[in-house]
Symmetry: C2
Subunit: 239 residues, 2 copies
DNA sequence: GCAACTTTGTTCCTGCGTTCACAAGCGGCT
DNA sequence: AGCCGCTTGTGAACGCAGGAACAAAGTTGC
């Protein structure tokens, strides 16, 4: 494989291709990973880019380019060795180590996440739960007792939490976020419908279900108004 | 049947008054909407693009371009009338009517969604719950009794469900999806980690928490190996 | 009523990500 | 061994979204 130098200012021993990987590609790689592990369970040892792309719902050229970010480990005329590919994708995504997860706000959503077995199975053990509600503190959820939010910084540092998941009401999210950052957490998954302010070395991803529903609503509206021209409203004038 | 997931907005030929709205813009419009309603509650009647963009965490030029899709209702030298803007965004997103939601799979996640008050508040009333578990059928969750999955087509048609939310285990997702489609549901929000096969007129959005965690893991891995974490940038970048 | 200031709406441009297309490489077959 | 067909890896084209810059438009102050 020829290592192609993308304008990297970074220096010598760079074991990871890093910056060159588009975020969209990272998301897709996670999907390929799931498809691959599923296929491996079924005994599949080799897959072509066409097959894998089909299963993942993407263009095969896109897939091959994505895989080129992890380094070319395919065999021409044959395809990819599923086991080996999984190994390398896991390495690129940093899944060779476990990432300890803390869930803050053990309400409806927090409970669901704490009880969910799919995260530990994928290398994301939930090792801390927090809530401000005194009645919840001490009570085990999914086998793990809830701690008080005030202890977030110490507990997170202590248990080496790398990912914090915020499931509190929106008004509490920023406070909780600050506590997590104080505890050394650099990756945050935020379910509260607010924009969090964080230092630049902290990565925040937001999952906003209301926005998802509204996007679906948009498509629905589009479709309906296209089909039955009944809505007499003049809507958006072209200008 | 086409594999038709995520990202992709409507049709080749634009038969609607408004120009083609990029999906990313639709998502941001939903966010502006939330910011605006929140500001209106605080008595704000006017906002400039700069203010609104700041609150939403985007570039002001991007915001203005997004708003141009809804049809330019700002006043130069002043800004946007918050109430009017909300009205027009809601119209574009199809939020002037209610979208009845059905949740399928009343387990951990299904319970959380069924109990969540934020959806009805935003015009997405949950009007049907389904599960295959006989022990759950008939039991009210969040005030609504659970129906059996076999009744999905009839009940969805009857209650005019427009959005189906799938919270079943992955292996059941495709079956459930087919039932929803049979019931006339054209918009699906899928939490199960599988790619659904749907007719081309059905829009699927997938929320994959494992992928989100893995993306965070990737950034974490990159940071650690980069070792240059200490960029002394102290404050708050909105993301 | 006029001028200066503010902010919108839009155009242009740049950069990124996806897709196309093809040469290079590898295994299988004769 | 050598050819043939299949699949990868990637350079190049394309399309699109985001950002900068600016002219038009409207408001405020005098
Ligand atoms: N439940 C859902 O299906 C759903 C869907 C979309 C978005 N959300 C968002 O997720 C968040 C949680 O939703 P939910 O339904 O679980 O709410 P919830 O009210 O059931 O739970 C919130 C929990 O956070 C705790 N909490 C409150 N203030 C806190 C603080 N300062 N520190 C720590 N914990 C605190 C509360 O004690 C409670 O246990 C909300 O922001 C909501 O908008 C939830
Ligand atoms: N719970 C989470 O936090 C979480 C996080 C990420 C992803 N998910 C995904 O969401 C889905 C649901 O997760 P969960 O934790 O709620 O699981 P769960 O096992 O708690 O609940 C699944 C529910 O679906 C029902 N079900 C099973 N087969 C069905 C069928 N054919 N038709 C209708 N209902 C059926 C079950 O009876 C059960 O009530 C899974 O696909 C999971 O991977 C969950």
């Amino acid at each position: 494989m020829t290592v192609h130098q993308h304008g990297r200012y970074s220096t010598p021993v760079d074991d990871l291709p890093s910056r060159a990987v588009p975020e969209a590609a990272v998301g897709r790689l996670a999907i390929y990973l799931r498809v691959l592990t599923s296929m491996i369970e079924q005994g599949v040892t080799t897959m072509s880019s066409e097959e894998l792309a089909g299963a993942a719902g993407v263009n095969s050229a896109t897939l091959r380019k994505d895989l080129s970010y992890v380094g070319s480990y395919g065999t021409r005329g044959v395809g990819y060795d599923t086991a080996r590919l999984v190994e390398h994708i896991e390495q690129l995504l940093g899944l060779t180590r476990h990432h300890s997860v803390a869930v803050v706000g053990i309400g409806n959503l927090g409970h669901a996440l704490a009880n969910y077995g799919g995260f530990p199975d994928r290398g994301f053990p939930v090792t801390a739960l927090f809530d401000v509600d005194e009645d919840l503190v001490g009570i085990p959820v999914g086998g793990l007792p809830v701690d008080h939010v005030n202890t977030i910084p110490e507990v997170c540092a202590e248990r080496d939490v790398t990912i914090g998941v915020i499931c509190t009401p929106a008004r509490a999210a920023q406070t909780v976020c600050d506590l997590l950052v104080a505890g050394g957490v650099r990756c945050i998954l935020n379910f509260a419908p607010v924009m969090l302010q964080v230092p630049s070395d902290v990565e925040v991803r937001r999952v906003d279900l209301a926005v998802e529903l509204q996007i679906l609503s948009f498509y629905q509206a589009r479709r309906s108004s296209g089909r039955r021209a009944g809505t007499a409203d003049p809507v958006a004038v072209i200008r």
